[in-house]
């Protein structure tokens, strides 16, 4: 079976600094894959490279087997890849509803088909209906994260990339947000979840990749990998258990 999304020896650099050294990952239909690793391991860089936000070679990213590396970000969205970016990146000065409408507008413009609608999103995150007319900058962090996830879903993605969606949120809010992920997966959307919290990453994924200094150091089924293996892959050789 061809992977929905795959990378092949993906290299990325910021100026003179090489951030990724030949990353190979695969994501299959309906699968959730976690990317774990310390700060600076290259997780966000990998997602940004896939989204066309960093220059990469054409053959380095494949979508349903087609080379798409370096495709413009808006064209990647059109091809069915959406991202919940690190730091949420909402459109400040606009209401919750307008933030979501931007995605609805573009999905309509591109003729993207999928099951996500505003009422369905309101079922998933009821608070978004209540706060529809509120300006996004006055929402709490958790609510903002829900808008960011909602905005990505309304792009009708077949692949959803989630970049540190638990960052800076209270444990209760994190549970609430992660509780929504199975429902998103149930629609057949495949997901890559970048997560700092290893425990959270394991429970939310089928497989995981651990990254260290721009390389994948461990991969396997989330339920089978031991803490010792993760500890070694996370910090490099010579380090103890997490």
């Amino acid at each position: 079976m061809t992977a929905v999304l795959s990378t092949h020896g993906l290299l990325a650099r910021y100026g003179d600094f090489q951030a990724l050294y030949g990353i190979d990952i695969e994501l299959h239909q309906g699968e959730a894959v976690a990317l774990i690793g310390a700060n600076g391991a290259g997780k966000s860089t990998l997602l940004r490279s896939i989204m066309g936000l960093l220059p990469v070679g054409r053959e380095m990213v494949r979508l349903h087997g087609d080379p798409v590396g370096g495709t413009a970000t808006d064209r990647m969205v059109q091809k069915g890849v959406a991202i919940v970016p690190e730091g949420r990146r909402l459109f400040t000065g606009m209401s919750v509803e307008d933030n979501l409408r931007v995605a609805i507008d573009q999905a309509a413009r591109m003729g993207a088909k999928g099951g996500w609608t505003l009422p369905r999103l309101h079922q998933l995150f009821p608070i978004l209906k209540e706060k529809a007319r509120t300006q996004v900058q006055s929402l709490s962090g958790g609510q903002q994260q829900m808008v960011a996830i909602g905005r990505a879903l309304l792009c009708q993605p077949r692949v959803l990339l989630c970049d540190e969606i638990s960052l800076g949120l209270a444990p209760k809010v994190i549970r609430e947000i992660y509780a929504a992920l199975p429902e998103i997966r149930a629609t057949g959307t495949a997901m890559i979840v970048v997560e700092q919290d290893v425990g959270l990453a394991r429970t939310a994924s089928d497989r995981l990749y651990c990254m260290l200094e721009g390389r994948v150091t461990l991969t396997g089924r989330s339920a089978e990998i031991t803490r010792e293996q993760i500890g070694k892959a996370y910090f490099g050789a010579g380090h103890g258990v997490v």
Binding site: D74, R89, A103, A112
Partner: protein, 287 residues
């Protein structure tokens, strides 16, 4: 009564400034593009309109009907060919590029039309007036004000309610996040500049009807547009409209005090606003 008349004349003058300021509100206030050639584009369009009127004997309305689509096309080309290459977080590259364009346009206009002042024949419309109470209101300034109000209303509604408006606001808030939501920012910017210069098509016709235009007149129009947008507050269309009124009224009252003081009075009010409320009358203070 004399001061009331100054107020009325100021509002009417504000209607003219609002037509320059709307395009500026869109480009500078929303997209953060500093377009130094803003005024020169008005003059260029005016001169093209005047030439069309003389060559084909067209009245003001047919000139307007031809000129606005032409302006839209010019704006679209300007963004595609020049501004999309320099747009970004830093306003300086767009400033330098359009500064160059401004000089090039002025010289091009001098070459084609010479330094002479010209105006658009209005077939009498420019001298008609209506008497309300004891105040005479020129028909042309009244039309200018009505068109400015209509354009402001239309642009405000477009930004708030349409797919294009939302996409443009999203791209100005965070261009990368906009792309992540499927927006092609360059296409949206090209449409926005097309709209901004399209509005200048209206300004060009009215400017040429109510006074004369010459190739070197652009920079003064640019300053009025900047002042109106900053007085009103960045990123608000009605703010730019009210800013234009404030500028127009200040100048009209200044003229009434002393004919040499009019333009300066406008600048002084602008400086007072900048010093006491730098975010503008309708702008939100930076947190």
């Amino acid at each position: 009564m004399e001061w009331f008349d100054a107020l009325v004349q100021g509002i009417l003058l504000g209607g003219m400034y609002a037509q320059y300021a709307l395009g500026m509100a869109l480009m500078f206030g929303v997209m953060r593009i500093v377009n130094i050639s803003h005024g020169d584009l008005v003059i260029l369009l005016s001169l093209i309109g005047i030439s069309m009127a003389t060559a084909w004997g067209l009245g003001p309305l047919p000139v307007l009907i031809v000129l606005v689509p032409l302006a839209v096309l010019m704006g679209w080309l300007l963004q595609k060919a020049v501004l999309n290459r320099v747009v970004g977080g830093d306003p300086l590259p767009s400033l330098i590029a359009t500064f160059g364009l401004s000089i090039a346009l002025q010289n091009l206009m001098l070459q084609i039309w010479s330094a002479n002042s010209r105006s658009l024949p209005g077939h009498g419309i420019e001298s008609q007036s209506i008497e309300i109470g004891s105040v005479y209101i020129g028909l042309l300034p009244l039309i200018v004000l009505a068109v400015a109000t209509g354009l402001t209303w239309g642009l405000d509604l477009t930004l708030k309610r349409t797919r294009f408006g939302r996409a443009l606001r999203a791209a100005s808030a965070d261009v990368e996040a906009a792309a992540m939501t499927g927006i092609n920012p360059r296409a949206v910017y090209a449409m926005a500049t097309a709209a901004a210069v399209g509005i200048l098509g209206f300004a060009a016709v009215f400017q040429a009807l109510r006074s004369t235009v010459a190739p070197a007149d652009g920079p003064a129009q640019l300053i009025y547009a900047f002042e109106a947008v900053i007085i009103g507050g960045m990123g608000t269309v009605w703010g730019a409209f009210v800013g234009s009124m404030v500028l127009g009224i200040s100048q009209a009252i200044g003229f009434r005090i002393d004919p040499g003081f009019g333009v300066l009075a406008g600048h002084i009010v602008f400086l007072i606003v900048l010093a006491t409320r730098p975010q503008g009358l309708f702008g939100k203070a930076l947190a």
